[in-house]
Amino acid sequence: MPDGVPTWEEIARDHGRFLYRVAFRLTGNDDDAQDLVQEALIRVQRGLERYQPGSLEGWLARIVTNVFLDEVRRKRRRPTDSLPDDPERVLPSSPGADEVSTVLSTHVQAALDALPEEFRVPVVLCDVGDLTYEDIAATLGVPVGTVRSRIHRGRKLLRASLGGERTA
C-alpha cells in the first residue's frame, strides 16, 4: 500500500465509528445505519486502490453518502421493496425522566429525519461529518452555492421543527 494510504483494517478500526455516526444521522435508525456501514466498507475495500491521500474522513463520508443516496433512489424506483413500517423503529422507546440528553437527542434526530433528503444530507455532512462546503459539493455533485443554500434552508427547517419561529 502506498505511503499515506491506510489499510482496509485500519480504516475499519479507526474510522468505523465515524462511518456509523454519519450513517445513523442520515438514516435515523440503527438497522439502516448498519446496512449502510456494511455496504460502505465493501465499497471502501473496492476503492482503496484509487484513494488519494487527503481527507480520509471526507472520502469515507462521500462513500457512505453515496450508499445512502443509492438506497434512496432504489426505494423510489421500487417502492414495494420498502420494509413495512415497524412502530418500534418509528417511535423510539420512551426514555426515563432523568434521561434528558437522550430525549433531546431523540428530538433532534426526529427533526433531522423529517428534513427532506436534499437538506438533510448536506446538513449531516457539514455538522456530523465535518466536511467543508467544497467537499459536500463534490460529494453531491452540485455547486458550492447550492450546498450553501441547502444547509441554510435545512437549518431553518430544523430550527422550526425544534420549536423555533422562523421558517421562511
Binding site: 455496504e39 432504489r74 455538522d127
Partner: protein
Amino acid sequence: MSTPDPTDELLSAYLDGEVTTDERSTVADALARSADCRAALAELAVARDAVRGLGDPELPAEFLADIERAVAAGRTTQAAAAAAVTDAGSDGSRPRRGLAWLAGGAAAAALLAAMVIPATDRVDPAVRARVDAHAARSSVSDDPVSELAPVATATGGPRR
C-alpha cells in the same frame, strides 16, 4: 411580501466560516445594524449546535455479536461461498438486508470485526486470506454483493 435580506443565505455559511472576506464584512455590517439579523443568526446557531451536539450513537451490542457470527459462519462455509460466487446467477435480486449476507462476504465481516474490536493485531491470517479473495472477486465483478445473495440465504437468518 417582504424582500428577502440578501445577507440571509450568507448567515449559515458565516457560522461555518464558509464565506469570502467580502461576504464576512457584509454579514458583520448587517449584524451590527440589524437586530433581526442577529436573531436570525442565533436561530441558525441553535439548529447547528443541536445537530453537532448529538454525539456518537452507540454501536449496538448485538451488532458486535452478529459480526462475530458472520465471521464464524464465513469460516465454516468458505467452500460453499466460493462455489456460490462461481455459480451465482444474475437474477438482479438484491441481497437480503442485514448482517447475514456478510457470512458470504467475509472480507466485509473481517473489516467490521476490526472496526468494533479496537485491538491492533486481531485479524488472523485466515481472515486476511479471505479479504484478499474477496478483493479478487470484486475486481472482476460489478456487483459482488448481489452475487453473494445465495450464500446469505444459506448461512444465516434475519438479524432480529
